[in-house]
Symmetry: C2
Subunit: 207 residues, 2 copies
Amino acid sequence: MKSQQPGRTEAAERIIDAAKRMFAETGYDAVSIRDIAAAAGVSKANVFHHFASKEELYQEALHRSCAKAKAVLCEMAQTNHEPGEQLRSFFYSDLSRSLADPDGSRLLLAEGFDCSEEQAKYLVSQVFGHDFERLTEIIANDQTKGNWRSEIDPAAIATLMIAANTFFIAYRQILRQLPGVDFADDPERYADSIVELLLNGIRKEEQ
Amino acid sequence: MKSQQPGRTEAAERIIDAAKRMFAETGYDAVSIRDIAAAAGVSKANVFHHFASKEELYQEALHRSCAKAKAVLCEMAQTNHEPGEQLRSFFYSDLSRSLADPDGSRLLLAEGFDCSEEQAKYLVSQVFGHDFERLTEIIANDQTKGNWRSEIDPAAIATLMIAANTFFIAYRQILRQLPGVDFADDPERYADSIVELLLNGIRKEEQ
DNA sequence: GTCTATAGGCCGATAGAC
DNA sequence: GTCTATCGGCCTATAGAC
């Protein structure tokens, strides 16, 4: 962690860190190179010495956010608990990963919001697709083992879990204001509630 | 519909329409008054004659989006179907409402993304809170009637449904790229899949 | 590699004629 | 109510000294 890219000065790293944070906080257009330079403790011209354009600096910040998300996913332990627990564990890990790098997550979610088809392909290949495929694998696997209903669409539950994760990160403030919600500041309880609901559904067992 | 506010010229209405569309498409900072004026077929100075500032014009566009969403909600028919069907109907209506005004929805969702506490309070009181409360009412009502499990948290399922709706609108392009997803361009099928899953859950019935 | 200084352009907003 | 013309400022990006 905090490893410096070869051929990048320490000042360049400070610039990237500041850019990632500030782009995430206020968006591409609202932050100027002047602001980033000041936050990194260098001159404006020095930013352009290291990065050809504002856009190139933004792409570097975005790329780092993707790489960080992917690295955490790869480190995640392979657990062999019972099916429901495995799903809960995966969802909570996914949520924790997003919470561990809030700036990176916000950058990625802002980038994915209403984006172009090309950008969606890139983001799915770099970030979202990985979680989605692992989720569908877990579900399909447990379906064949006979633990879970085989008629449900694995893609539907994976979508719901990605949506629940996304909503928690992107619309946390909204969540805090909704009446009756007591898990807005408690990710573990949120994961418990969501997964419990998905596993057992709303309906009573047939009598 | 398309009713002109008293004291607003027809040119002012064209300006608001263009502003709403362009702010939704590219964001506040990325669109200039010059662009809006050109799209509305008036001069830049004329925009400032009708609106004191760019911010005031944006607020008007946002306000209209809120009002439109609320109007559609009020019109929604009160159905008296069986519990599951009622939930499905509500979710699909909610989704349809968002899809019927894509620019307004995008504006609202962009505004809610990672917003301030005050803004969240405003958006919940104006838009999201209404859906959320109706959903929790429906659920709590059916719980007391004995149809549904009483131990689940109504807020959790309402959150999941708002999240599913939000994700469909804000991250549609991502959804289209996820493997195995066949409902990205079929809102009704999406609603069916999500609600069916929520109602019955993943697990097999106890044997 | 880092700086100061500045070019060149687009922005929001205003002045004032019609 | 609508326009043309313009102001003052901030922006990205570059030139050139050290």
